[in-house]
């Protein structure tokens, strides 16, 4: 990265993933970067974007400086259009009302499978992670955007455990397993925007962030990742984007 950057890696993540969201979409968001990015998108280019939370919330407005600690507390319901039981909000994914699921990730592999359950052998793990929450449901039932730090230990050849399915073993294996809808759409990192090959379903570089080289991405990825010769380059975060973001999280809870 260049020396001149006036934003943190987390801010870059929030801005870049927020830009992918389109006006009018219905987005099932986790807390942290996804929530910030979606709220940022509402403020900048997508006023008709609707956010849903796993706790049972449709169309809330997040109050700047009062970010919710999870998707299941009353702060998530500020000025919401509707609250409903958890099972029912998750069923909206199964019915097909949701355009995008948007969450963070701890470990991802070549085919976009996510692991948030076990590091190491699940029968004898070195770390027991908190688990799927709604992650498995979201990634099974809709199109996904994942925002995460780009580190070699997080981008692995094969996850230790598929908590939230991406394209499983690539090719048609996701649909073959019975997951006939949804799938990974984009992975947004602090280095690049990643997409998946239409046929093989392997992760590839869609665009590099300002000042990031192809080498840097390869070095921070635990598998061989395809980067085209004429790969696109993203625009750096703009003043208005950063201003909205910093107003939302003045204490830098999620954007330190």
């Amino acid at each position: 990265m260049t020396e001149r950057k006036n934003y943190t890696a987390s801010e870059l993540l929030a801005v870049m993933s927020g830009r992918i969201l389109k006006d009018g979409q219905i987005v099932f968001a986790g807390v942290g970067i996804p929530l910030l990015a979606a709220t940022l998108a509402q403020g900048v280019h997508a006023p008709g974007l609707t956010i849903l939370f796993e706790g049972g919330v449709i169309g809330p407005f997040v109050v700047p400086g009062e970010l919710p600690p999870s998707t299941n507390e009353q702060r998530c319901t500020r000025r919401a259009n509707m609250v409903l039981p958890i099972t029912d909000v998750l069923l909206l994914l199964q019915r097909g009302y949701i355009d995008v699921g948007f969450m963070g990730g701890a470990q991802i592999d070549r085919y976009g499978n996510l692991n948030s359950s076990f590091i190491g052998d699940p029968d004898n793990p070195s770390i027991r992670l908190p688990g799927t929450g709604g992650g498995n449901d979201i990634s099974s039932l809709t199109q996904m955007i994942v925002a995460m730090k780009h580190e070699k230990r997080r981008f692995v050849e094969k996850v230790d455990y598929i908590t939230s399915p991406g394209f499983i073993d690539g090719g048609s294996s996701r649909a073959d397993s019975g997951l006939i809808a949804g799938g990974m759409y984009r992975v947004v990192t602090d280095l690049a925007i990643l997409s998946f090959d239409e046929k093989t379903k392997e992760m590839q570089v869609e665009a590099l962030h300002p000042g990031v080289s192809a080498e840097e991405v390869k070095d921070n990825t635990g598998f061989d990742i395809k980067i085209g010769d004429h790969v696109a380059r993203t625009e750096p975060p703009q003043k208005d984007e950063l201003a909205v973001l910093r107003n939302l999280d003045p204490e830098r809870l999620y954007t330190a």
């Binding site: 998750l90 793990p125 688990g131 019975g178």
Partner: protein, 323 residues
């Protein structure tokens, strides 16, 4: 539930329900009396989600009563799961996510118990937990679902999930086994003496849990008259005949939140996280000694939280209605 039976056979479920006194009758009692409705080894479902409307006072009463070997299920498990593991009340938790809360990182207490093999943490997807309760609430033995397919969450559950084919479309789905807990613990904003409960704001899985369970113990911020309930019957979410015990417990979810009444006691949660992060065993023991075994009554427990914290959490909680 009979040991080893994943799904209660329908006639057994009906027999248990028929035996309950479901008539319109008052059932107000103390926390101590209510704790006797839970037996060692029971499957206990916990209402609320993460740090919201957790029936903390009932869990406190179960810890004090030294209940053992409870099988626990919940939507998402927070610090109450650390308390259940740490106190030995449960060594088997069924949920979709288990840690104190996202902002505090991965729970060291959960890690200590699960990684050492001392306790079991069965992981299901969030919707799967919800649909298992819902099938139980509906009186059907399974629910077809399109989630969990193809993942290791599914694979690891082995025979507890089955693949089924839709007889109309031929589509492949997963059959989730109905869950009818022995007991459900639920905390609400208001209920009458019969157990008619009205919930404000987030509902989580509480309605399905109440309908599915074979016994329901309800704590409530306040007991209101049946007349008040009858004035807005479309706000009643849990009908009296599913409820076996009603206890009025102000701040019954503290240090977690109760929608519109109080927000989480964040400082208390920070302190708990810090001391279990330093040492999951000693940190949890100290927490149990200080807040569970130490205070003799729920009032004593609230005294330990402190008036300032109660007032502050209350001010933040009510602020949801300030707009």
């Amino acid at each position: 539930m009979a040991e080893g039976t994943l799904v209660t056979p329908h006639l057994e479920l009906r027999r248990k329900t028929a035996e309950r006194d479901r008539g319109l009758r008052e059932k107000v009692m103390s926390l101590e009396e209510a704790a006797s409705y839970v037996s060692d080894g029971d499957h206990v479902a916990i209402g609320g989600c993460t740090m919201s409307r957790t029936p903390t006072a009932l869990i406190w009463a179960l810890v004090k009563a030294r209940r053992k070997n409870l099988k626990i299920s919940r939507s998402i498990v927070s610090s109450e799961g650390e308390v259940l593991y740490g106190s030995g009340v449960s060594n088997h938790i069924i949920t979709s996510w288990f840690s104190q809360g996202i902002v505090w990182g991965v729970s060291k207490v959960m890690r200590h118990h699960t990684e050492s093999g001392k306790a079991r943490f069965d992981e299901w997807s969030h919707m799967s937990i919800g649909l298992r309760y819902r099938a139980g609430a509906m009186g059907i033995p399974y629910m077809p679902v399109r989630s969990m397919i193809g993942s290791d969450v599914n694979a690891r559950l082995g025979d507890e999930v089955k693949e089924v084919e839709c007889p109309f479309t031929g589509e492949r789905l997963i059959a989730l086994p109905a869950l009818n807990p022995d007991v459900a613990l639920i905390h609400v904003q208001r209920a009458d003496a019969y157990g008619n409960a009205q919930l404000d704001g987030l509902q989580f899985m509480d309605i399905d849990i109440a309908m599915a369970a074979n016994r329901v113990i309800l704590t409530t911020e306040r007991i209101v008259s049946n007349d008040q309930i009858r004035r807005a019957p479309d706000h009643t979410r849990i009908p009296f005949f599913t409820v076996d015990a009603v206890i009025e417990v102000p701040y019954g979810s503290a240090p977690h939140e109760c929608y519109g009444v109080y927000e989480p006691f964040f400082d208390h949660m920070d302190t708990l996280a810090a001391q279990t992060k330093a040492d999951p065993v000693k940190g949890m023991k100290k927490y149990l000694d200080d807040f569970y075994y130490g205070p003799e009554s729920w009032s004593d427990y609230l005294d330990l939280l402190g008036a300032d914290a109660l007032v502050d959490a209350g001010r933040r909680g009510r602020s949801i209605y300030n707009d």
